[in-house]
């Protein structure tokens, strides 16, 4: 009788262990206490979402008005583009450990580090989005007697929303991913599962990775929905018929 040898069970089994850790918890590797379980994972997820939300909120408050206004007036192109390029190159790992070691640990410092990461894509995209708006359209709006404020809010912003939201989505993907490194700054996010194999074991590493990936995908889908809602109905029609 032949037994079906399910190839490297030890290798794939770890995904099963990881799922078990997420939903039911397990004994800690070192002490006898129980770690993991859906409520503990939920707490870590909420912390990760909280720092992501804080950093995205601060980043949006700084980057979007700056990008939109600079873009509207066509000033500071060098600034907006250079900050975008420079920011992309900053290694997130170095930034977080540096903030923790040079300034201190805690939610505030993690938020500052993540905000620094959140700003560049949103600043560059909102600047480029405003510049890409057809100049003739803006001229027509002015010709109709619109004020600067009306031109920005009623004409340029609706046309710029897809590119601006592209920047917001890139930023949020980066920030929610980097918030995984939160434990390095003393904030227990889902990264705790990954960075403490002594407590959670190797299945903790996999469990953390699964949770982070799922969280990032859900966030991206939510933001895609937000973008759909923000896109003006007229543009949606134009795109559908194009």
């Amino acid at each position: 009788m032949t037994t079906l040898q399910l190839a490297p069970t030890a290798d794939f089994g770890i995904f099963g262990d990881a799922i078990h850790l997420i939903f039911h918890g397990q004994q800690a590797q070192t002490a006898g206490r129980t770690v993991g379980g859906i409520s503990a994972i939920w707490d870590l997820t909420l912390t990760q979402l909280k720092v992501t939300g804080l950093a995205m909120g601060c980043g949006m408050l700084i980057a979007l008005p700056a990008g939109v206004i600079l873009g509207h007036f066509g000033r500071g192109e060098f600034l907006a583009i250079s900050i975008g390029n420079l920011g992309r190159a900053v290694p997130e790992l170095g930034l977080i450990i540096f903030m923790a070691s040079a300034i201190g640990v805690g939610v505030l410092n993690l938020t500052i580090a993540l905000t620094i990461l959140a700003i560049p894509p949103m600043l560059t995209n909102s600047f480029v989005a405003m510049r890409q708006v057809d100049r003739d359209t803006v001229q027509a709006a002015r010709g109709m007697g619109m004020t600067t404020r009306e031109v920005i809010t009623a004409v340029e912003l609706p046309l710029a929303i897809p590119t601006i939201m592209g920047g917001v989505r890139t930023s949020s993907t980066n920030v929610v991913a980097t918030a995984t490194l939160g434990p390095l700054a003393g904030v227990l996010t889902l990264g705790d599962l990954i960075l403490q194999p002594a407590v959670y074991g190797q299945q903790g590493v996999v469990a953390g990775a699964i949770c982070v990936a799922v969280l990032a995908l859900i966030l991206e889908l939510c933001l895609a929905g937000v973008q759909h809602l923000l896109t003006s109905p007229g543009l949606r029609l134009a795109r559908a018929s194009a």
Binding site: A89, G94, L95, P183
Partner: protein, 238 residues
């Protein structure tokens, strides 16, 4: 303070005979940097590989996918969706999801980073191909070019600025992301950033600056390449 720092506990280098700034662990200690720069050579070379290989692989795969999607338009949404979903999965999660399947090491990091670059490069190649003026394509067809000749002789060259713009974004972000390879034993400059319990600011800052220097060197090289391969863009009519 130390209790609050489970991973990044600051342990000062208590070497009293060391000159000046080392025991202070200030922002930057030039004398330490001058004495220890050779520690960074191997990690920097590893980092170059961690950036260059994923970009090359990502470019080849994305170019293939883009050409297929360009010829068969109905394939575009599924490919875009797949690369988009892969792009959204954070690299740090990807590293650890790959580890049980293919083990730790440089290859794991290279695969995860390659997957990350796909979406950026793919989108830009497609955008570049879409923006080729219809007149140029018609002229090519009028001269009797086959579909292949048109693609390699007219469409791809005219799409180069967008393609290179995508490569520049991909290469700069990959240089930063490649520091995370340290978590899967992939080497690179991350090893000098994530040093466990001992955070020595000068080491951290030097490694981070080297990462940024690698990013900007690659970026500069691509800019230079763009000037070399698109000579027609410099011939601006007076």
């Amino acid at each position: 303070m130390i209790e609050a720092l489970p991973y990044a506990a600051v342990v000062l280098h208590n070497r009293t005979n060391e000159s000046g700034c080392v025991p202070d662990n200030g922002l930057f200690c030039p004398s330490w940097a001058a004495d220890n720069w050779h520690d960074f050579v191997t990690p920097s070379l590893q980092h170059l590989v961690l950036v260059a290989v994923p970009i090359l692989l990502g470019f080849v795969i994305a170019l293939g996918l883009a050409i297929v999607a360009h010829r068969r338009r109905w394939l575009m949404p599924p490919i875009l969706g797949a690369t988009g979903a892969l792009y959204t999965i954070p690299s740090i999660a990807f590293f650890f999801l790959l580890t049980p399947l293919i083990g730790r090491g440089r290859e794991t990091a290279i695969i995860a980073l390659t997957v990350y670059t796909l979406q950026i490069i793919f989108r830009n190649i497609l955008a570049g191909l879409d923006n080729v003026p219809a007149g140029a394509k018609d002229a090519g067809r009028g001269m009797g070019l086959t579909q292949n000749q048109l693609l390699w002789g007219v469409e791809l060259p005219l799409a180069l600025p967008e393609i290179i713009a995508g490569l520049r974004i991909a290469i700069v972000s990959t240089a930063a992301l490649a520091t995370l390879a340290v978590f899967v034993g992939g080497g690179g400059l991350g090893t000098e950033i994530f040093t466990g319990s001992k955070v020595f600011n000068t080491r951290l800052i030097m490694a981070s600056l080297l990462v940024m220097a690698i990013a900007f060197c690659f970026d500069g090289l691509l800019l230079l390449l763009q000037r070399l391969v698109t000579p027609w863009r410099r011939a601006v009519p007076a």
